[in-house]
Amino acid sequence: MSFRKYLVLAAVAIFGACGDVCLARGMRDFGAVTRNNWHQLLSVLLNPWIGGGICLLIGFFCSYMTALSWADLTYVLPATAISYVLMAFLARSFLHENIPTSHWLGIGLITVGVGLVAMGPSLTAPPEAKSARNGA
């Protein structure tokens, strides 16, 4: 796999983790969504944290679509799993969330598990699955 493709996978992980942290920060300003305030949910789009999070997630989306154009779905998702670890560090540093030892163990297990997949081939779908190219 080329260096450019590794860069795309790294972008998926970084944009995804940072975007989710921004969304979580923004939703803290809104508070819990209940039956009384759900109709105001669209107003969260005006929150700068939510806006920033959406911009980062657009970056995530573009790099994710690019990766899916040359790799299996079951390769791209685990190969970018380092974002879970990054997300936990960011949640602890910026959102001051308490992350107990069991959660760190869980995040470690997830990362090891998905790391196994990253060592395999990136594309396994049979040729007929790709035979309709350019036929959108």
């Binding site: 979580a24 154009s69 685990p78 297990l109 196994l116 779908a125 959108a136």
Partner: protein, 126 residues
């Protein structure tokens, strides 16, 4: 909000995100390597081909559902639980859906990884 509501939110994220992922992965495989298309035809052609693909647009709708489910769930539970739990469960659901609908070869290594991920989720749920 109760923990049950948080996990219901996670389930909603997983179902909608998996449907969106499978539809979009299928659409991207139809289109081919976006990097190569951009090099030969330009960025506008990439955008035109992507947005004119009906499977991609349907996938986008389900991703939007997953996004708003995530927003609501984040207001009920911590990101350090919702983020990894929804993403890892989506990974397992995607492995099953990709094998069935996308005909991907999900070998022993990918299934072992699914077990590791499931163990990680169990620890996160404690």
């Amino acid at each position: 909000m109760t923990a049950a509501a948080g996990w219901l939110g996670v389930a909603s994220i997983v179902l909608s995100a998996t449907t969106g992922d499978v539809l979009q992965s299928g659409a991207m495989k139809q289109l081919g390597d976006l990097g190569e298309i951009r090099q030969t035809h330009g960025l506008l052609e990439v955008v035109r081909r992507v947005v004119s693909n009906r499977r991609f647009m349907l996938g986008l709708f389900f991703m939007a559902v997953a996004f708003f489910s995530l927003l609501v769930t984040l207001s009920w539970a911590d990101l350090s639980v919702v983020g990894p739990a929804s993403a890892s469960l989506t990974f397992i659901a995607n492995a099953i859906a990709a094998r069935i609908f996308l005909k991907e070869h999900v070998d022993y290594r990918r299934w072992v990884a699914a077990v590791f991920v499931a163990g990680g989720v169990a620890l996160l749920a404690r």
